[in-house]
Each structure stands twice: as C-alpha cells, then as structure tokens.
C-alpha cells in the first residue's frame, strides 16, 4: 500500500489540475482505510475459521440442541408406529382369549374320549376273560350235545320202524285207532324234539365259535377302538399346535410391551406425548464421555466464549441418532439427551457444552 516510485509526468498533471490531487488524496485515504479493514477482516476470518475448525475437531464436550415438534416427521412416524404396536397387542389379546377357549374345549373333548377309550378297553378285557372261561365249557357241552343228538337219531330211527308197526297194527285192527294216533303223535313229538335239539346244537356250536375265536363283532369293536385312539391322537396334535400358538402370541405380546416400554424412553415419544416443552440435544459418540445425568450445560457466545450455565442433563436416551455436524456439516453418529433448561433460548443455540466451559471463560 506504499510506493517508492514517482513520476514527473504525473506531478506535472497534478500541478495543472490541483483539484485532482485533492480528490485523489481523499479517495486514496478512503481506499486505504477500506483496504486495511478488509485485509484485517480477511485475516480475522481466516484465523477464526482455523480456530473454529481446530476447536470443534478437538473439543469433546459439545452437544447440538435439537428442537422437536409434535408435527415433526420423525415424531409423527414414531407415534404412528406406537399406535400400530398397541393395536397389535389388542388384536393378539383377543386371539389369545379365543385360542384359550378353544384349547379348553378341546381338552374337555379329549378327556371324554380318553374315558370312553378306557371303558371300551375294560369291556373288551372283561368279555375276553369271560369267553376264556365259558368257551371250554360250551365246547364240552357242544360235544355232549352232539353225542346226545346222535343217540337220539338212533332212537328215532327205531321209532320210525315202530310207527310202521303201529300203522300195520292199526290196519290189521290190532289196536284201536285212538291208540294208534296217540302213539304216532308221541313218535312225531320225539322227532320234533330231536330237530329242536339239533338246532340247539348248531346254535351252541356258533356260541362256541364266538367264544373261542376272533369274530367280526370283535373286529368291529377293535376298529371302533382304533378310530377313537386316532381321534385322540389328532386332538393331541391340534392341542399342541394351539398351545404353541398361544405361547407365541403371549411372547409376541410381551415383546411388543417391551418395545413400547423402550419406545416410551424415546425423545420422540416424550415429544409427542409431553404436555410441557421438552428440550433435547444431540451428543456425538466422541463426546459421550462427558454425558452424565445431572451434568451442567453451558451456552456460549460465538459457540465457544463467554459461557454461562443454562441447565443440566436430565436423561440420556440409548437410541442412535445421525445428524449433520453443526459446524462441519458432515454426518455424525451419536445419542440424544434430554436437557433441563433454565434458559429456553439456549435450545436454539447451534451448540452447547456439557460438564464445563469449553475454554476458561
């Protein structure tokens, strides 16, 4: 801004037009003031830029206040998800009650089927025991009956000769007609008894067969028993599945309740449901060491000097947040804290500091 050079031509021009000399001096004075101010401003700007960059690169206690509103996209999304979760719990509860009722009914039915199966089994056992007892007796009786019938047949064969004798005697008039009729009737009666005895013998054979071998009736009973047991088995499977479903639904309800419990610890829940204004701040993971509940919060002028205490850390939320660095504008990961602010305007500051003043003042 200074020159050692001079020029005679210029001097002569100035001499000719002194007014120019005055104007030039005034203009130059203004220009130099402007230039000095500008250059110092540039220097100050560069120094501030370098200092701010260095300060925020090294400082480990800054946090960025976040102002959340109920109509904020994240809050709305959060509330919507919370409502859906609660609705899911209610739906699951209805399902659980219905499933429990069905399960109870099925258990009762299974009990009745099991009782029936036991009774059937007892009846079969009883009948088999009886058959084992009466079967040999009937077999002996059947054999005896067969022998009796054979004897009767032999006697009846002789009686048929007798009937012929009676008819001859009647024809020859040896006997009266009445006597002959009575004798013939007696013979006929003996035939009828023999036939009855034979029928009884056949029926006895049938009974023996039933008692001593497995017949169709027994098979039918066994089939019924198998069907009954199959029904019980199917019911067991259904009961098992229903039980597991019920348990799963209950677990799902527990999970949803747990998730809602955690969600209630979220700043967005507090923001959406809190009646009072709540103040939050983002803390990058690099600065996590300075976050403790109750730690004082400082707000500073120019984001670093003339700091004053404006509140304390009320709560630390566990969920991860990703925001743009308030100074560097790069993405940073961290967590959210809730602040108790005695000076609400500090929530609008670009940064606040946790634990202490970032510089000495």
């Amino acid at each position: 801004m200074t020159t050692k050079a001079s020029d005679s031509t210029l001097r002569s021009e100035r001499a000719r037009k002194p007014i120019y000399g005055i104007l030039y001096k005034i203009t130059l004075a203004f220009y130099r003031v402007f230039a000095i101010v500008t250059l110092y401003a540039v220097l100050a700007g560069i120094f501030c830029y370098a200092f701010i960059m260095g300060f925020y690169a090294l400082n480990r206690s800054w946090a960025a206040p976040i102002i959340l509103s109920a109509s904020d996209d994240k809050s709305l999304d959060f509330v919507q998800k919370l409502v859906l979760s609660r609705q899911s719990i209610e739906d699951l509860k209805v399902d659980v009650v219905r499933q429990q009722t069905t399960l109870d009914e099925m258990a009762k039915y299974r009990s009745s089927l099991l009782a029936l199966d036991a009774q059937l089994q007892a009846a079969i056992v009883r009948e088999r025991a009886h058959d084992r007892l009466t079967g040999p007796q009937l077999t002996a009786l059947d054999e005896q009956k067969q022998a009796d019938n054979r004897k009767t047949r032999e006697v009846l064969a002789q009686s048929h000769q007798l009937a012929t004798q009676i008819k001859n005697d009647l024809a020859s008039g040896l006997i009266a007609k009445g006597d002959a009729a009575a004798q013939l009737a007696a013979l006929n009666h003996a035939d009828t008894d023999y036939t009855d005895s034979r029928i009884a013998g056949v029926m006895l054979s049938d009974s023996v067969l039933d008692k001593t071998t497995v017949g169709t009736k027994s098979l039918e009973v066994l089939e019924k028993q198998a069907e009954l047991r199959s029904d019980i088995a199917q019911l067991d499977v259904t009961l098992n599945v229903a039980q597991k479903q019920l348990e799963e639904d209950n677990r799902q309800i527990d999970r949803l309740r747990s998730a809602i419990g955690i969600a209630k610890q979220s700043p967005y829940y507090l923001n959406a449901n809190g009646s009072n204004r709540i103040y939050f701040a983002f803390v990058p993971y690099d600065n996590q060491a300075s976050v403790t509940v109750g730690a004082p919060i400082y707000d500073c002028y120019l984001n670093m000097v003339l700091c004053r205490k404006v509140g304390s850390v009320k709560q630390v939320f566990v969920g991860e947040q990703v925001i743009n660095h308030p100074i560097f504008k790069t993405q940073v990961r961290g967590l959210t804290i809730q602040m108790n602010l005695s000076r609400p305007e500090s929530a609008k500051s670009q940064t606040v500091f946790l634990g202490g003043k970032p510089l000495l003042f």
Binding site: T2, T3, A5, E13, A35, T38
Partner: protein, 411 residues
Amino acid sequence: MAPILVWLILFLCLVISIVKYLMGLLMRLAFPSAKIRKDYTWQPTVSVLLPCYNEGQTVYNSIESISRSNYPAGSFEVIAQDDCSVDDSYEWMLKAQRDFTNISIRVGRNDQNCGKARTVCNALQHSRAEIIISIDSDCIFHPDAMRELTACFAEPGIGAVGGRVGVSNPNDNILTIIQTIVYYAAFELYKIPENSTRSICCISGCLFAIRRELLLEIEPILRARHWFGIPVNQGEDRFLTHQVLMRGFGTYINNDALCWTAVPTKLSVLFNQQLRWRSSILRDLFYTLRSLPKHVFKLHPNAIYTMILTPLGAIVALLVMVTMLSSNPLAWASPLPLVAYLGLGAIFSWAIGKFSIRETIRHPLAFGAYIAWSFSSSLFITPLALCTFDSGDWGTRAKVSEEAHLDHQSK
C-alpha cells in the same frame, strides 16, 4: 437474486474457460489454417529492449542468448536499461556489452528507480528500429525467437506479437511442476481461440514484440498510468496488449517463438508474482468496464469475454469460496476436485512429454497440489490484489532491493 447472479457468473466463467480449452484443442487439431501467415523474408530492424532490476548475472545470460540469435546481426540491437538496481546487475550488463561484440548492445541506466513500464519507455528513447521487442531480463531466448516474431508482422493489421514462454526448471519442486502445466495449458490451448481472432488479451512481457509507431503512440499513456495519483508500474504487458487492441490492431502469440524462464521455486516469490498478475488483471477489468461501450464497438467479442470474465471469475470465485466455507466448511475436502486435477495433470504431462520434451515432468501427480493453490489463490490473492492497487514496486525483486539496501547500510 444476488446469489443467483454470482452463481450465474461463475457458471459462465467456467463454461467459457472449458469452451476455450476445448476450442483450443479443436483448433490445434482441425484448423491449422487459423495460424498466422508468416513471411521470413521480411526482416525489419529490431530493437530488443531489456529492462532490468536486480537480476544479477541472469541479465548477462539473457543477453548472451540474444547474441546467439539467427536474426541478421546488423538488423537488431539490444538496449539494456537498468532501473537503478542495488545489486551488480549493471556491471553484468556492461560485461555483456564488452563480451558480445557480434551484436550492438547499448547499456543505459535510469536516473532514479521508476518501475518496469517506465524503464521500457526510457529504453525506447534510444531506439530507431521498426519493431520493438521488449523482453524480461531473466529469460533465455531461442535463436529463432526474433525471426519468428518479426515474420508475423507480415500479416496486415498485426500490432503486437508474443512468444511462447517455456519453463526452464520444470522439475525443481512441486511449485514448478504446477506452473509448467499451467504455462503449457495457457499457451497451447487457452490462448489458441484468441489467436484465431487475432485478439490475444495479454501478451507476456517475457517476449513482447510491437510496431515502433504503435508503442510510441501508447508510450505517453503508459508513462502516465496511475491509480488515483500513484504511478502504476505493474502489468505493462497486459496494458500494452489492451491498448494495441483498442487501436484496432491485431495481437497474436507465435508459439514457435520460444523463450525460457525460470519460474518461482519459493511459495513467497510465487505468491508475489501471482499477486502482481492478479492486480493487473483486476485493474484491466475496471478499465474495461469504465469504457465498455468503446470496447463493444472496437473489439472482438472473444476478447471482451476474456477481459471481463477472467477477472470477474476471480472475484466471484472469492465470493463462492467465502460462502462455501461459511455454509459447509469441509466442502473443499471433497475428493472429486483432487481426482479431476490429477487426471488433468496426467493428460497435460503426457502432452508436454510428447510435444515439449524440454519441459517433461517427472512427477505429474504433483499437479494434485494445484487444488490447494487454487483454493488459496481465490481466497487470499484476489482480496489482497483488490486492496493493494496503490502498490507500485517491482514485485518479486523488491525484497532483494530492500535486503541489498540493508547490506549496503551495514557495510
């Protein structure tokens, strides 16, 4: 509205720059007819003006390179004018006068230190030649340089012709590598579209040929240049070129007229040089804006765009840089510009190695550092240039002057 305007100007500057480089490439490849018609048979008398200030032995080497010129010895003379150097420059000039007797060398000295522009004017007083070639005293000239320059004046309407300035120390360090690529790109591409319309906006003062009558016409204005009463001694090459164009003459750079200069190897020297150049560019912008209607009627649009958008781009780049740093402080750390610069560095290094072997670069990746230079250039040099218009020293040589002065005092 204002930010949109700023972005629009920046966009326009970028587009024009890219278009100029691409057009330069296209013209080189597809339109060799855009080159000037040279006539080597026309050999006018030439005065080589050599203004000097604190150059030491370099001025001797420079005169030595001129003495080896292929131009007929009887047709040219060297007029070396010392601007009261505080070192032994004047002694070296006298020694050159004694040693190189094959050419005519006149050595003179200013009564007082008055800057390069006025030193050139003082030297001009001793010249009677048809063509004046003003050169920098730290350059080494190709034997054909003078012949190449004068041959271009055969084309009617050409008022001034410049030469191609090559870098003699391309591999000294990272700064010289960057400058080598920048010089090559500027001469071999950027200025080609301006060449095609014979409207080069700035012929380098390293090798500047002009018709004598034209320089005599411009000389009073050149001497009287001032910034609110303070003499302006910098950027005489840009000013002269501008004045030649404003008088309806054409300007041209003949890339076959070669000279070699050692570019700054120290950051402080480079910073001062760039500051001087930026200052002269911005001065030129204000002059152009002040007489814009005259420019519109007299100059080719190509020249007006270059005269306005080049300096405006520097100012807008400063605004954009400040806006960027305040809104997104780490935006400059994006890898994209670095990749782009590395790519450009690789391409230009290949081209230099193929077409300008003397300037072959050993470490082309060093051009990646240009991003840091562009950044600091936009952020520091532009505001500093805007705030130091009242400075009028020799720039890089002033320090030497002060140091030498102190040495004298201590002795």
